[in-house]
Symmetry: C2
Subunit: 309 residues, 2 copies
């Protein structure tokens, strides 16, 4: 195994789990933290995982990227609501051969980052995992765990095999996908209905899937996402919808990240998960009317929540 240097930007459920596993198997991993910085510096990082619990100590913990060393791979695991700061945050971490991996929800974050940091190698990643923070420096990984990765440009494609090798060595299931744009749209087929509707209806994924009216909502939204994706050049077979529904039927009742954000009073990832797909589809001549409607419900709810009404 090659030993390489990793940065994890955002040490929540996703960053803590994947970064933690890489560190556990010997990689040099540098974690950026915010509120948990002092705790993790002092006590380390605890990961309770269905694949076996582990504790990391000491941890290379930082509160500012300017204190971090240049890294071979930068795993961006924070919410997309903070992505406008990446252009300023990432440069201290980058060397000539760095690969930035966005393990995030939404569409076209790679384009935005590439515009902010031209020439940087970028990969898209989606995580199929149920993991969340239960306390300061304390992560609970409850189910699943696979990562899907796709290069955004040729520079990234050349750097991805080494990362995939490291992840597999660390015990992480990896799906090597050819097309970042298609990967993002495929993830949206699940994310758009389930993230928004669990918030709008204050329901779990299981309730939405098994009640007939909400299931019709879910399927209708999925069909609109698939149709929009096709207009944008991302071909997803209709059978993918049946697979996503069947998958969700088998899952334990689940609160997706947007539901956790809303319940905790944090801003929701409405822009990258709803508004950017709607915009791309509109440029391709397709109006996502149902998705726009769900987005508007969420925008109203968010403004009311954040304004404290």
């Amino acid at each position: 195994m090659s030993k390489r240097r990793y940065a994890v930007i955002g040490t929540g459920g996703i960053g803590g789990y994947y970064g933690g596993r890489l560190a556990l198997c010997g990689q040099e991993v540098h974690f950026l933290l915010r509120s948990d910085y002092e705790t993790v510096k002092r006590e380390g990082l605890q990961v309770d995982s269905v694949n076996g619990d582990f504790h990391l100590f000491p941890v290379h913990a930082y509160a500012d990227t300017r204190d971090m060393p240049p890294c071979d791979v930068v795993l961006v695991c924070m919410k997309t609501t903070g992505n406008d700061r990446l252009g300023e945050m990432l440069p201290p971490l980058l060397h000539q051969g760095s690969l930035v991996v966005l393990i995030q929800n939404g569409l076209n974050m790679e384009q935005e980052l590439s515009a902010a940091l031209p020439g940087v190698a970028i990969a898209a990643a989606t995580a199929f995992i149920c993991t969340f923070k239960v306390g300061a420096g304390h992560i609970r990984h409850a189910a699943y765990g696979d990562l899907s990765l796709a290069p955004f440009q040729a520079e990234a494609a050349a750097l991805l095999p080494a990362l995939i090798e490291d992840l597999r060595q660390a015990g992480i299931g990896v799906h090597d996908e050819p097309d970042a744009h298609l990967l993002r749209w495929k993830k949206l087929v699940w994310n758009i209905p389930y993230n928004g509707l669990t918030v709008a209806l204050d329901a779990t994924t299981a309730e939405l899937t098994f009640q007939k009216d909400s299931r019709r909502l879910v399927v209708g939204l999925m069909q609109e996402v698939v149709a929009a994706a096709a207009c944008c050049g991302a071909e997803i077979p209709d059978s993918f919808i049946d697979r996503m529904i069947a998958l969700t039927e088998e899952m334990t009742p689940y609160a997706p990240s947007m539901k956790l954000d809303y319940d905790a009073g944090r801003p929701m990832e409405i822009r990258t998960m709803y508004l950017l797909p709607i915009e791309e589809a509109r440029r391709a001549g397709f109006e996502m009317k149902q998705v726009q409607m769900l987005a508007d419900l969420l925008l109203f709810m968010q403004e009311r929540r954040l304004s404290g009404k």
Copy 2:
């Protein structure tokens, strides 16, 4: 003024106000009640109205239509959720020249009643009024009050002028409309967005109208209703949407009937206000995707509420 015999079926905010005003100016009005029967029989009907409070005593109060006399005009003021019982309830009230007026929300209730009671003269009515029950036998009429009336068939058209004369004598503003189908669709332009969204977003009409994202929802739904109506042969000018929005901006913050029903744990008028319009539009080749989505949200919420979860 001709003195005629009226029946009011459902003595809530609507029936109590309009029936009360007719009785106040000398018409013989027979009221059907359910839970308030004993109170109204004993104490009469109290109407607190912006046009002046009044008290009716004694009141011709009934708990069953079989005890009521045949009437010249039957004002059906109950929720459409009980309309499947009209075919059984109304016959004792009808004579050869009776006119049945449905002061209700939704679409095609006239067709359904006509199928249940062939040959009966039926008129459609929509009330632009803010009125509700505040206690047993106690109605509060807070604003507005006009009725729009349209004949469903030629038999009804012949009987309407006398009713309109009586209503005007009773101080009620009346709009004499030629087309029941168009009248129903026009009312839906306001009813579909505001009834459903006040429930789905737990918001007042004012919040929905002044917040930019919910206003986009309202306008988008109104546009879909206007487009569906046109496909069904009911031509509503686009300027009607601007008028409805302007009207709502001027209204005091308001909870429409569906919001009151939901908050009180009563079934909502989803079938007549959403599902029947969706069905008629579909038969005309138009898919009301946004309205279907709102209906599905409401159906989910109603099932959860009524099942006590």
